[in-house]
């Protein structure tokens, strides 16, 4: 490459004035990087240009500088808002907000499910407890009733006003055994069963008191009784108590053939 020719073509002046196409400019830049002579020449052209233009300088009004710095300050602050805030603060705060709401939603769902489960379990437990409680109450009542009954039984069996009459098994039922407690003052009659066989649904036992040789109905009962049971009262001294098997509901007069147990009042 002929450096002199290249320089005298005026390409460097055109380059300094920014008048070359992109292709021409990059070619000049390559040559500048390669040849020191070209760099020196360009530097002289630039210095001349600067000199001429400094000579031709026109001082702008002072307001222009003030306005420029106002704009620069405003731009740098709006840039801070436009760049820093949106890129780092707003977007990330949106991210955080989104992440937080997702986390919150997940946590809420989990907690809701968890609480729902616990609530459901509690409900079941509560239902069980209520049932148990009812059962306990029922059992308690049963026991209580039983206890009341036993207390009453004990009271009757130990009360000297009650006369106990043991009714033993007849030849119809040698193993049978029952007792009657009779209170002469109050006319009360209680029946206690030690051993009586079970009857069919059609039949019931019937208690009779023999007063002055005549059988008097003292009421019907079923075979299986856990405690003493109150029967019809009698206000006359009986000689004998006896139990027959009668059709359900009883009969006005006993069927003597079916007599199970009988016992006489001990004298006195």
């Amino acid at each position: 490459m002929n450096i002199e020719e290249y320089i005298s073509s005026g390409v460097l002046e055109a380059y300094a004035l920014g008048e070359l196409s992109n292709a021409e400019r990059s070619e000049v830049e390559q040559n500048l990087a390669q040849y020191k002579e070209l760099r020196d020449e360009l530097s002289q052209i630039e210095n001349t240009l600067e000199n001429v233009l400094n000579q031709l300088a026109v001082k702008p009004r002072a307001e222009v500088k003030i306005k420029l710095f106002d704009t620069v300050n405003k731009n740098s602050s709006t840039k801070a808002e436009a760049k820093v805030v949106p890129l780092f603060s707003t977007i990330s705060s949106w991210r955080y907000a989104t992440a937080a709401s997702i986390a919150f939603a997940l946590l809420s769902s989990y907690l809701a499910f968890n609480y729902w489960n616990r609530w459901k379990n509690s409900e079941t437990t509560l239902a069980n407890l209520i049932t148990q409680n009812q059962q306990v109450a029922k059992d308690y009542n049963t026991v209580n009733q039983r206890l009341d009954q036993i207390e009453l039984d004990v009271k009757i069996t130990t009360d000297p006003d009650f006369t106990r009459v043991v009714m033993k098994g007849t030849p119809n039922a040698p193993q049978a055994l029952a007792s009657v407690y009779w209170n002469a003052k109050t006319s009360e009659v209680y029946l206690g069963i030690q051993n009586l066989r079970e009857l069919s649904q059609e039949n019931q036992y019937q208690l009779w008191a023999i007063i002055d040789g005549k059988p008097v109905d003292c009421g019907v009962f079923d075979g299986q009784l856990a405690s003493l049971v109150k029967m019809k009262g009698i206000n006359h001294l009986p000689s004998t108590f006896a139990v027959t098997i009668e059709p359900r509901g009883g009969k006005p007069s006993p069927t003597l053939e079916t007599m199970q147990v009988a016992g006489n009042l001990s004298a006195g």
Binding site: S8, I45, L68
Partner: protein
């Protein structure tokens, strides 16, 4: 701020967005750049707007300035020229240009008579007067009026190569006249 800030140091500080560097840059170069802009646009208000745009562009684009491709001043001159020339193509100027047509023509005639109206520095005027008529014309059109080489070639019917050569010779002449090292 020191008055003898090297161009290199100035660029480093501008890149760091040091406003005192911009202050220095403005004080040092606003006159030269405003001169270029004003000679192209001829309207004080518009020229002032363009000057501000130019400094904002320098401030924003300083990272794109490459030391290996020329001086900072040359880079700024090109921004100012391009910005001013762009403005002549905008609507506000093309309106103003119509009413200015006669002045514009007079300016042209003046330039051809080597009586450059826009050169207000006596020292430079003396230097410019030492150039040949052809060289002075080219320098005036390119440096003072903001024409591109191809525009001068087209408008005044001078071959582009001739424009380039004349500018080249004018620059050599100016260099020796102004004692540029």
């Amino acid at each position: 701020m020191s008055k003898t800030l090297s161009e290199e140091e100035l660029v480093v500080r501008l890149v760091k967005k040091d406003q005192s560097a911009l202050d220095y840059l403005y004080d040092r170069y606003s006159g030269a750049l405003y001169g270029i802009i004003f000679r192209i646009l001829k309207k004080e208000e518009i020229s002032e707007d363009v000057l501000q745009e130019v400094f904002l562009k320098i401030w924003d684009k300083i990272e794109t300035y490459d030391t290996s491709k020329g001086k900072l001043f040359t880079w700024m001159v090109n921004i100012a020229r391009n910005q001013a020339i762009d403005k002549t193509r905008s609507r506000e100027i093309s309106k103003a240009k119509k009413t200015d047509d006669i002045d514009y023509l007079v300016g042209k005639v003046d330039a051809q008579e080597s009586n450059e109206l826009y050169v207000d520095s006596i020292g430079l005027k003396e230097v410019l007067m030492k150039l040949s008529k052809d060289q002075l014309f080219i320098v005036t059109q390119l440096y003072l009026k903001g024409y591109t080489q191809s525009e001068v070639a087209e408008e005044f019917d001078i071959p582009l190569g001739t424009v380039k050569t004349r500018l080249r010779l004018a620059m050599i002449e100016l260099r020796s006249l102004m004692d540029v090292k």
